[in-house]
Symmetry: C4
Subunit: 250 residues, 4 copies
Amino acid sequence: MDDFDIEHVAEVDLQDPVFVEGLPGVGHVGKLAAEHLVEELESELVRRVYSTHFPPQVSVEDGVTQLACAEVHAVYAEDTDLLVLTGDHQAQDTVGHYGLTNNLLDIVETFDAEPVYALGGVPTGELIEEYDVIGATTTEDQRERLSEFGVEFRDNEPEGGIVGISGLLLGLGERRDIEAACIMGQTSGYLVDPKSAKAVLEVLESAIGFEVDFESLEDRADEMEDVVRKIQEMEQGSPTGSDEDLRYIG
Amino acid sequence: MDDFDIEHVAEVDLQDPVFVEGLPGVGHVGKLAAEHLVEELESELVRRVYSTHFPPQVSVEDGVTQLACAEVHAVYAEDTDLLVLTGDHQAQDTVGHYGLTNNLLDIVETFDAEPVYALGGVPTGELIEEYDVIGATTTEDQRERLSEFGVEFRDNEPEGGIVGISGLLLGLGERRDIEAACIMGQTSGYLVDPKSAKAVLEVLESAIGFEVDFESLEDRADEMEDVVRKIQEMEQGSPTGSDEDLRYIG
Amino acid sequence: MDDFDIEHVAEVDLQDPVFVEGLPGVGHVGKLAAEHLVEELESELVRRVYSTHFPPQVSVEDGVTQLACAEVHAVYAEDTDLLVLTGDHQAQDTVGHYGLTNNLLDIVETFDAEPVYALGGVPTGELIEEYDVIGATTTEDQRERLSEFGVEFRDNEPEGGIVGISGLLLGLGERRDIEAACIMGQTSGYLVDPKSAKAVLEVLESAIGFEVDFESLEDRADEMEDVVRKIQEMEQGSPTGSDEDLRYIG
Amino acid sequence: MDDFDIEHVAEVDLQDPVFVEGLPGVGHVGKLAAEHLVEELESELVRRVYSTHFPPQVSVEDGVTQLACAEVHAVYAEDTDLLVLTGDHQAQDTVGHYGLTNNLLDIVETFDAEPVYALGGVPTGELIEEYDVIGATTTEDQRERLSEFGVEFRDNEPEGGIVGISGLLLGLGERRDIEAACIMGQTSGYLVDPKSAKAVLEVLESAIGFEVDFESLEDRADEMEDVVRKIQEMEQGSPTGSDEDLRYIG
């Protein structure tokens, strides 16, 4: 096995696909959104990417193991095809992040799957009512186009830049003349956030031109809200309950 | 010296061997079990695997040093031959874990030593009366076969997957069409656990078809129980002793 | 992409340039000084250095991304040309530090840009009135020359040596017969320090022979002093305020 | 520059030299002992070993820098020649430890400088009156020979084995059929310990057959004892002074 090893699970023929990435990150927004597409729309696993820079680990489901990997799915929306990347891991070191992203961009080029949309979350540090969607792109053209779909581009946001595979899909993508954009939902940063994932997907629907049902994501959002409400009630009952605690937990 | 270096200590001719791995891990269950086989049955050291990804370290016994390594022993049970891997170290980094496992799988292929049984422990977080043995395999066939010998396969257990060399023997083994299973004894996770090692070995006896005496392992289990009992007595004598403390220490 | 990748942004023809480095470090003294030269004098971006040893990250400005890199600028002072290195990152690991520095020294050799001046700060652990400038060089000749411009060379200072790219520009520079010097402004070590950056630049003006306006750097210094003053006032108002606290915050 | 780079500072012709290593470690015993040989006997720097696995750092003396390295000195005792390795750093990672040691063993082979004596300390956790010297070797022959000179070989000591360059000189040395021994002075583990270094050197004098003056090492030992005495006095004066504190500081 080389440092990176791509398993061809199925060969597919896609019409003008775009590439969508959703690996774990802030509020698991990108991961929730990408997995929602794979689950709700007609989809098919086409590639697994293994790497010695992933954790040395297998997951276990019903007693059968799967080596740590990232998975590329063909997703067939009504009017458009997508390649959607999902997975449970970022690379474990700096060199691995760069190498993994370059292998993903090879797949993007093979399928001519442009533009690349990296999905993620932007932490705000507090509970959110209105879920703004923040963007960053490799080109000003792409910025103008996405502005029309409600993506906000701000002077200096996200402040610390974009880290991990999402960031490198843009940074290394640009070096290879691949158009790429990062679409990030605001999220508290403290909890898995299905509502933020929905906000991101709604923008993506307009930008790419497809439709997906949100019922299951809304159900998960309701469950999360129940959890938050119970924590808040416990806190208000407790003698040390305060705004500050709320912000910490929420 | 390359990144991995295999020393041929003895050449042996084995009949349809299987491969058994027991490196350090949760409760040292796998390590205890594998070392017990090497000590109780007729055995012979056949390979040492050195690596720049092991700690930069020698062990010292009676003033003579041995470079950090993993050891592969030929073990001759009455009706079957085994290759048993023992050692004091996991690899020190992600890339090392993958590389070491691939070198071990080379040895598995050289000796045609299938299936591979990775032995280990599953932490439960509390003291255990009944030692269930949990399994994970690369194939559903293997899962069915091991179920007959009392191995339990559960929906989502072990929850965090299987990490380290044990996990990769399955994950990378599957990629090379080598049948592999992980057999894990439940254990508190707080103490070295000879009883859990015995439970794992009892399953292995049935699955492979051999017999081993457990007296020495039972003696070590008795010693550990004395230790636990003394800790519990100390705690009950102390004014702050409580169930919670017990769980923490036990 | 290789481990290091140099993007040619512009080709320029420089007259006897020197090389000036200012990456992040103690008090950001070197970074402030190098960026001041690029901003105040006529300058042009000529090279970007990318590396898999930089953080896996893009920065975002007005919604458009830039992959983590170090930037080499041609800076045209009245009587002399400079190559000035700026950036937001040191390498992320030991091997990366050495590799990045060797790539920078390749650029130094290509432009025949000697001597190399690495700019930085020396932490003193307390607020400073007089900003001494400490030096270290690869040759005694260079030490004598810089002494004339007010750089102080002391027995055993900086005590822990010089770490990071600055240190290696001297250490690896000497191995390649490139004359190099490190010019370090004293600084508390607790705050970004524009005054220390100015002290370093004043020495550099004399050593290289150029002039730069310091107004913007002095404005930033005034802002920092306002911050310090407010912290001190808050402390003196507080019942636990003391000299020791001051030293910690200042 | 490669991962390892050996600078030839001087070419020398040595008669049947042995190799002595003293890099930083427990109580700096090995470092003190090796540096004492270089300082007290006639000596000459012959090689510098640079590595990208050393810290990215230069040391500064009188304003002139030296890139992080290990130094090999020819040392001329009355009746025998030695190659003595000194330096301020261990390698920074596992792969670097193995690579550095292999480069050192190349030098050992070039000069045919056998046996290799790695010097170090064994921590006891308490202040010491009698400084026993513990040994470990690659061969039983060497063990018997060193026993005659007062080196003690114990069942399971040092308990955690020998880590770092000292350990690997034995472990990798044995793999290359180079005879090697580690000679370790007992030391508290809390302080730099010139007395332990003297005890190690006294054994080395007998084993190799040379003489060295210990006055400067004894002076340093006296200074350390003054420090310890003052700490003890301060503690006995303080209301919380106790045996336990003593052990911690001593």
